[in-house]
C-alpha cells in the first residue's frame, strides 16, 4: 500500500496535488544533487496546480497521457519526470506516485516499467491518503 501526502491543496489550486513517499524521496535526492533543478520541478508543479493540470494536458503539451490513466509531467531543463494519475473523474485532484531522472529523450524499457507500476497502483487502488495514525 502506498501512502500519499497533501502537497498543494486549497482554494489557491485548481487541481489539488498529492505526493507519494517514493516521489518525495526522488525529489529530495534530486535536490541534494542539484537544488535549482529540484526548484524548477516544484515551481512548475505548483504553477500547474494553480492553473489546473488539465490546461497542460495533451499531445505537444507538458503533461502527457501515457497509458492506463497514467500521466507524465516533464521538466525540460533536467529531464526529470513525474508520474501520476487523477484521483477523480472531474480531474480536480492528482496523485504523483513516482518521480525519476530520465537518461534520454525516448521512453526506455525502464520508463515503461515505471509507468506500468503506477498504472497497477491506480487500477488496484493500492494507495491511500495519509491520515493521523497512518504509517
Amino acid at each position: 500500500m502506498e501512502f500519499v501526502d497533501s502537497f498543494f491543496e486549497g482554494a489557491k489550486y485548481a487541481t489539488a496535488v498529492f505526493i507519494s513517499d517514493k516521489a518525495r524521496k526522488a525529489l529530495i535526492k534530486l535536490a541534494k544533487k542539484n537544488r535549482q533543478a529540484a526548484g524548477h520541478v516544484l515551481k512548475r508543479l505548483e504553477f500547474y496546480a494553480g492553473a489546473g493540470l488539465r490546461l497542460y494536458e495533451g499531445d505537444k503539451k507538458p503533461i502527457r497521457h501515457e497509458w492506463d490513466g497514467v500521466y507524465r509531467i516533464g521538466e525540460p531543463s533536467s529531464l526529470f519526470r513525474l508520474l501520476g494519475f487523477y484521483d477523480a473523474e472531474d480531474k480536480t485532484s492528482f496523485v504523483i506516485m513516482d518521480a525519476y531522472q530520465k537518461h534520454g529523450q525516448s521512453l526506455s524499457s525502464g520508463d515503461r516499467g515505471r509507468i506500468d507500476e503506477v498504472a497497477k497502483v491506480r487500477k488496484n487502488q493500492l494507495w491511500r491518503k495519509r491520515t493521523r495514525g497512518s504509517p
Partner: protein, 138 residues
C-alpha cells in the same frame, strides 16, 4: 516524514532570480494555452499566424523558451491579446486573482528594505479592450 522538506526547497527556489524568470515563462504559457483552447487553434496554427517556427511555440507552451519581449509580443499579437506586467502589493490588491480569471499572480517577492511582500501580475485582455489599472480589494 512529511512534505515540509519539499516546501522548503520550493521556498528557497522562489527566493532566486531564476524563479522569477521561470514564473514569467509559465505565465506566458498559461495565457497562450488558455487562448489556444478558446480559439480552438493548434500550436501549428499559432506558429503560422505569428510567422514563427512551431518548435518555438512548443517551447513557449513548455515554458522552455527564453523569449524576448518582442517575440512574446508577436505570439500575443497573433492571439489578439495584450499582456502587461504590473507590480502591486498584496495589502492593496490590484486584481482579484482566481483560477480562470483574466489575470494571474505570477511573481511574489519580499522587499528586504521594507519587509513588504510585493507581487507582479500579468494582465491579459482582449486587444480591443483599452487597458486600465484595476484597483481595490476584491
Amino acid at each position: 516524514m512529511s512534505v515540509r522538506e519539499l516546501k522548503d526547497i520550493l521556498s528557497q527556489f522562489e527566493n532566486t532570480a531564476e524563479s522569477r524568470g521561470l514564473e514569467l515563462r509559465l505565465s506566458l504559457s498559461e495565457i497562450v494555452l488558455r487562448k489556444l483552447d478558446e480559439l480552438g487553434w493548434t500550436q501549428k496554427r499559432l506558429a503560422d499566424e505569428a510567422e514563427m517556427k512551431e518548435s518555438f511555440i512548443s517551447r513557449v507552451v513548455h515554458s522552455n523558451a527564453n523569449w524576448t519581449a518582442d517575440t512574446a509580443g508577436k505570439v500575443l499579437f497573433a492571439l489578439g491579446l495584450t499582456a502587461r506586467v504590473q507590480e502591486h502589493h498584496p495589502e492593496t490588491p490590484a486584481l482579484r486573482v482566481v483560477p480562470g480569471d483574466v489575470g494571474r499572480q505570477v511573481i511574489s517577492y519580499k522587499r528586504e528594505e521594507t519587509n513588504v511582500k510585493s507581487t507582479t501580475t500579468w494582465y491579459q485582455e482582449a486587444a480591443s479592450t483599452p487597458w486600465k489599472p484595476q484597483t481595490g480589494a476584491a
